[in-house]
Amino acid sequence: MYLCAKFQDCKIKKVNKMVFNKQFLKNSLTALIVAVPLITFANASQDTVHSSITSRNAAKLETHGKHHETAGQVSQADKINDHISHHLQDAHDFDFYSDEQTGEHHGFPLPVILFDNGLKVFSSAKFNHGENVAEVDGNYYKLYHGRIYKTDVAGTLTFDDHHHPSNAEPLDFSITKNVLSLLFTALLIFLLFTSLAKGFKKKGPNALPTGFNRVLEPLVLYVRDEIARPNIGEAKYKKFMPYLLTVFFLIWVLNLLGLTPLGINVTGNIAVTVCLALFTFVITQFSANKEYWGHIFWMPGVPVPMKIVLAPIEILGMFTKPFSLLIRLFANITAGHTVVMGLIAIIFVAKEQLTVGGSIGTSLLLTLFISVIELLVAFLQAFIFTMLSSLFIGMAVQEHEHDHDHSHDHAHGHDKHHAEDPEIPVI
């Protein structure tokens, strides 16, 4: 925490001196922090403030296969749960907010790309948020809980025992909300860093960068000097810098986008984190040296029976490391989003007990508090992911020049190698 605070502190100081004047920065930062929960609150209220709804809209509010089609009223808790789980999921359209009384959705549709006996491309507006059956070249598709199923003309879905539709699912390559966010982030990072690179190309490596590059340069140096160098080692860190920088800025920007009220939740999607962890896993395995494999299959410096016992544990450890990476990022961001939305829901849940003003005030304060923590978590998770990735890579590429007989003595962690011992339970 201190490290991070110190780092951000000096970053802001630097920015103060160079780019903005101090008062302006102070004011805009305060305004930003105050505005975050306000904007989020404004969106959520559109969805959940009315307790009476029409039965047509009630049909859409199904949670985990529990059907409420018959009931005109859906309990408030169910509605809030539904709203949160809907937010955590990927979607085929960008929905900023929706009015449940009129059934209007404010947002824009995204292209749907299906592979089902040939490529089918159409706009997700055809689904009308799951209410309509989309007809493409004589095939009928229906959107149900964020997934596309093949149906007949009427859009009938058959359910199995677990209330999951048993209809056929076409291969879905759609540009979904997450894909669009990823593409946007990629473009943003590309533009920012090409301008940084251009600046250095033009003025030479020792020149003072200008504009926004002054914010980026210390971050790049931070990743290099605090994350890559100490963990991977002076000799080999350069080869892994592109990956570490990419993963750091990708996760950070996506986490920060998740804090905006646009409803983006990319790093809280397990498919994305699985993919990122897979990159780390593959890079680690393919850059590993002989010693790393020796430590996994035939641990040096221990008796033979122990070597046999250790081998399966080490092989398991190979997989638990990236697994812990993906679970950590996914769970942190999911939990953060859930908590923020849950705190916003206080407005509606505690309306009777605290009066409207009281519940809004409580919710606003708590949401503000959690949002500020989430800002820290957004950075911390990017830092931790990059840090642990470089740690795992470092374990695989470092030359162990010291005596192996002492390499498993955890009590005396005087050397960097001990911190990276594969026997630390990494989950």
Partner: protein, 65 residues
């Protein structure tokens, strides 16, 4: 008797809280003893904290279903 999920979540959070407290406390002790090593201790603290957090979150997610 069925124990509700919330109880399990509470137990996980208690465990994680105790663990994080121990990590933070030890780090404070260590920094007080050797202020010049504060940076290294911070990094190690954050890493161990993240590992613990990963464990707790893993348990929370597995316990959710």
């Amino acid at each position: 008797m069925e124990i509700p999920n919330l109880v399990g979540a509470g137990l996980i959070v208690i465990g994680a809280g105790v663990g994080l407290g121990k990590i933070g406390g030890s780090a404070m002790d260590a920094i007080a003893r050797q202020p010049e090593a504060a940076g290294k201790i911070q990094t190690a603290m954050i890493i161990i904290g993240a590992l613990l957090e990963g464990l707790a979150f893993g348990a929370l997610i597995l316990g959710k279903n």
